[in-house]
């Protein structure tokens, strides 16, 4: 008898649970959605923003797709995403396509991406110009003595060509010219740091967050790389990272809150944690 009562109770419970689940699914379907698409460099920031947003607003679903800045611009123009994450400004062609579709693309700078040129701490060289750095990576200058250092062959080290850090270097220092085939490659900023800190003749470049006492960050064109010079744009090897929207988003809307999230303290912390330089200063 008792067992039977228990089983009835269980059935009731299960039915209740099922009802709850069904209701949950219904609510889930009614969730507000926001789609972000674009750069693999800005992607991690957008991802972390999305995570923080969804934690605060459980009925909001944000999807972030990382396929490259060009794809982001295309998706924004075609209306396939609400926010395009891009590591560069829109090209004239993309802008024109957007205007033909009847809207103005608006850029929101969420962070600065600065790249520091680093050498071994024992290296006497402490300053280079962007032209000299370019010449080193093109294989035109191959000895430290031409740069005021010891008579030693330079070992230039680069990041893998699909990384955002490489992109900055390629764009702002190399100007699209090819690096010498003799340049060595590593896959990550920590690997780069490890190689430069153990190789006296090495030169490499890493994000600002990876500079410590084991490597020496060079002044470029006379400017010391730090948060202030990168955020202000004085330091030459830095670029803004953008989130783009169709027109300026309606104030207070989800899109507006998302593209201005970097202005909050939490947003700034995320930007810093991802190794970029925030445009705000708390």
């Amino acid at each position: 008898m008792n067992a039977r009562r228990v089983s009835i109770l269980m059935t009731g419970l299960l039915a209740g649970l099922a009802a709850c689940a069904a209701a949950g699914a219904l609510f889930a379907a009614a969730k507000e959605t926001l789609t972000v698409q674009g750069s693999t460099t800005v992607g991690p920031i957008a991802d972390a923003f999305a995570e923080a947003f969804m934690r605060k607003n459980p009925d909001l679903a944000i999807t972030v797709t990382k396929t490259g800045s060009g794809d982001g611009a295309k998706a924004l123009v075609d209306g396939q995403c609400d926010v395009a994450a891009m590591s560069r400004f829109m090209k004239d062609k993309e802008y024109k396509a957007a205007i033909e579709k009847g809207f103005l693309p608006v850029a929101h700078v969420v962070a600065m991406d600065g790249v520091c040129v680093v050498v071994h701490p024992s290296n006497p060289v402490s300053e280079l110009t962007t032209e000299q750095i370019k010449a080193v990576y093109m294989g035109k200058i191959t000895n430290w003595k031409d740069l005021g250092g010891a008579d030693q062959k330079i070992v230039p080290i680069s990041r893998d060509t699909s990384s955002g850090t490489y992109e900055v270097m390629n764009e702002l220092v190399m100007g699209g010219d090819k690096m010498d085939p003799g340049v060595e490659y590593v896959t990550s900023n920590p690997d780069k740091h490890k190689r430069v800190s153990t190789t006296p003749a090495a030169i490499g470049y890493v994000g600002l967050g990876f500079v410590d006492e084991k490597v020496k960050a060079l002044k470029v064109n006379g400017i010391v790389p730090n948060r202030r010079t990168i955020a202000s744009g004085e330091y030459p090897i830095a670029r803004p990272l953008f989130l783009w929207t169709r027109n300026f988003p309606e104030l207070g809307s989800t899109i507006h809150r998302f593209v201005t999230f970097h202005l909050s303290e939490e947003g700034q912390e995320i930007v810093e944690a991802k190794g970029f330089v925030p445009v705000t200063n708390y």
Binding site: T161, P181, G182, Y185, T187, T198, T199
Partner: protein, 334 residues
């Protein structure tokens, strides 16, 4: 059915054991047939899984590599790509315009593999000979598992060793500007290939048998003569297979070369200079696949590298299988 549980008392008696019909009923017959057929089918499927996996990998890689050649749309564009891949050393997949010359990557794989084999074969072969014919049995019992333990160390640990210890050592003691180079990678790869070579060639040497050696001694040959002129030639198929297996270990290795070889996409000049940095096919895939845009030309070009690599290892593997087969059938005595 006569089996009884230990505590059970004697039941129906021995006569009951024999009162079952000798012929199966139609139902039993059918059940037996069906279960045997399904049993076979299940076993076949299990056995076929790995074959299927290989076929799927092949199909997938070919499918992803094909757009690299066909995206030009015309036959001449595809042939142009092919000519670029095998005719140029310029690997600039993210440049504008991009260049996909894979010759320097092929050369990089060849350099580190060849140099590793040159180091590992004498080392491995001598170890195998010592283990099979020279060391006393007790030593062998300990030494062989220890050598085989080398194969169990994860390759990222080898890579870390290469970057943190071998590279600074080369910079400090050999006066090289950069310690991550073809030589560094080759040495580490050689150490990694040694266990394979030792294990397989030791088996081949042992498989030649005692009678062969005693026959040689009976003819008045010394121990050295017996080893060099009789035992090693008799085991040559197995030894070649061991070398090829070691080579495959080296050519397919990724993490170590990515960490230790420096990854400069160049052919060393002068050609014999192993202290220059090189980039292998495997390292290129591992290093660039992570952040490349899905579906881009660069992405498909990496699958093309994978396909080339797969074809290489497939050929090497087939040759090894053939040689090992000859060793087994001929008992090592050809």
């Amino acid at each position: 059915m006569a089996r009884m549980a230990p505590g059970e008392t004697q039941g129906p008696g021995p006569a009951a054991v024999f009162d079952r019909p000798l012929l199966l009923t139609a139902r039993q017959d059918l059940v037996g047939y069906v279960s045997s057929v399904t049993g076979r089918a299940v076993l076949f499927l299990v056995a076929a899984t790995s074959v299927l996996a290989v076929l799927l990998i092949f199909t997938f890689i070919i499918k992803e590599a094909i757009p690299f050649f066909t995206e030009g749309g015309t036959l001449s564009a595809a042939l142009g790509r092919l000519a670029e891949v095998f005719g140029s050393t310029q690997w600039y997949p993210e440049q504008d315009p991009a260049e996909f010359g894979m010759l320097s990557l092929l050369a990089g794989s060849f350099y580190v593999t060849f140099a590793a084999v040159v180091v590992a074969v004498p080392l491995g072969l001598l170890t195998a000979v010592c283990l099979s014919d020279i060391f006393p049995f007790n030593v062998r019992q300990v030494a062989k598992p220890v050598v085989e333990l080398l194969a169990a160390i994860p390759s990222v640990a080898y890579g870390f060793f290469a970057v943190m210890i071998v590279a600074p050592w080369m910079q400090g003691h050999l006066g090289l500007p950069s310690g991550t180079n073809a030589l560094n990678a080759s040495i580490i790869l050689a150490v990694m290939a040694v266990p394979t070579i030792v294990s397989v060639s030791e088996d081949a040497l042992t498989a030649t048998g005692r009678s062969l050696r005693e026959g040689s001694y009976a003819l008045g040959a010394t121990r050295a003569e017996t080893l060099v002129r009789v035992v090693i030639p008799a085991a040559h198929n197995g030894i070649i297979a061991a070398v090829i297996l070691g080579m495959m270990r080296a050519i397919g290795e990724t993490m170590v070369v990515w960490m230790a070889a420096g990854n400069a996409a160049q052919i060393p000049s002068p050609w014999w200079d192993l202290t220059q940095s090189v980039r292998t096919m495997t390292a290129t895939i591992a290093g660039e696949m992570g952040e490349t845009v899905h579906g881009s030309t660069h992405y498909h070009s990496l699958f093309t590298i994978g396909l080339i690599l797969l074809v290489f290892t497939f050929i090497l593997n087939t040759v090894t299988e053939w040689l090992l087969g000859r060793m087994r059938h001929g008992g090592g005595r050809t």
